[in-house]
């Protein structure tokens, strides 16, 4: 990933980060439209304050916070989200472009991961955050972030072995 820390042009930063941010936001909201709303809200607020992406952890924390705010604003939506989360954590699926059969299987296996492991996996794999940044973004220690990442990979590997 290109280092976007020094870019002052928001378009460069946004085009670089937006797909990963939307994927990250999808961990909490059901629809892609809601995820885009969340990313828009968080990115605009973040850019107004910082005018560059020096601290990516703060940006992801802003996205996470905006997603949780969206859920809180709409109680019916919150109940729906909680119901969905309670029924099956895999219901909130990240979206990937142009996936083949193996990719579909892998995405399906991701859907079955616990949410706390999945959000770390998304930030690490598709947003390339360090464990320190992940920890800062979601309020856990870097070691905990690394542990969740390893648990997620182990679970994925197990699930994929079962499928194949």
């Amino acid at each position: 990933m290109e280092n976007v820390a020094t870019h002052e042009d928001w378009k460069v930063c946004f085009s670089e980060l937006a797909p990963g941010l939307v994927l990250f936001a999808r961990q909490w909201v059901r629809s892609a439209a809601d995820a885009e709303d969340v990313v828009q809200d968080a990115f605009v607020r973040f850019w107004r304050r910082n005018h560059c992406i020096q601290n990516r952890a703060l940006l992801y924390a802003a996205v996470r916070s905006a997603a949780l705010d969206l859920i809180r604003r709409d109680q019916r939506r919150a109940r729906r989200e909680e119901l969905v989360a309670a029924e099956a954590e895999q219901a909130i699926a990240p979206e990937f472009a142009g996936t083949d059969d193996a990719g579909v299987e892998l995405a399906g296996a991701m859907e079955r991961l616990p949410r706390d492991q999945r959000e770390v996996l998304v930030m690490k794999i598709w947003n390339e955050l360090s464990f320190a940044e992940i920890g800062e973004a979601i309020g856990i220690s870097p070691n905990t972030a690394a542990s969740r990442y390893r648990y997620a990979l182990a679970a994925l590997k197990k699930n994929m072995a079962g499928v194949r």
Partner: protein, 166 residues
């Protein structure tokens, strides 16, 4: 330790779906709207202006504290502080004391002592002597000018009260 490198490679092959062009347009519109209003995050402190302002304020304070007419101020100050002082009044030639009317007398007793039974000369009966220490203040006012005179002095009063034997 498990080796997840192959799994990580497979995961990275999955590409998140590109965001819609509409989202970029919405972000651009939101940021453009913000540009038109204020940009507090880009507010730059003008250190030169700040320094000049502080220097001007300091100079103002120094000038305001500086006594440019010390003699005149000292004379005015003395008159204000001790309006009843005799030299101050003698120095003012136009004071007409006849215009001043007595306004009142204040007596503040700050000590009273019973000195016991005494036998005054020329008295057939003993008497109880009370010694009172106080401060008396006379005030005069000039109705036409509003000017005030005040004279204050310490005073001592001794009272002899005859004591009848029983």
């Amino acid at each position: 330790m498990n080796d997840f490198s192959e799994l990580e490679r497979e995961l990275k092959k999955l590409q998140p779906r590109a965001v819609s062009a509409e989202l970029s347009a919405r972000v651009e519109a939101a940021l453009a709207a913000e540009e038109k209003i204020v940009r507090p995050a880009r507010f730059q402190v003008s250190w030169l202006g700040l320094g000049l302002g502080l220097a001007a304020a300091a100079a103002f304070v120094v000038l305001a504290r500086m006594d440019l007419r010390p003699e005149q101020r000292r004379a005015t100050g003395m008159a204000a502080i001790s309006p009843t002082a005799a030299p101050a009044f003698s120095a003012t030639a136009n004071v007409n004391y006849a215009d001043y009317r007595a306004e009142g007398l204040t007596q503040v007793v700050y000590d009273r002592r019973d000195e016991g039974i005494v036998f005054p000369e020329g008295s057939a009966v003993p008497a109880r002597r009370m010694r009172t220490a106080k401060r008396e203040t006379f005030r005069w006012t000039n109705p036409s000018t509003g000017g005030q005179l005040r004279v204050s002095y310490p005073a001592e009063e001794v009272t002899l009260t005859p004591v009848s034997g029983q």
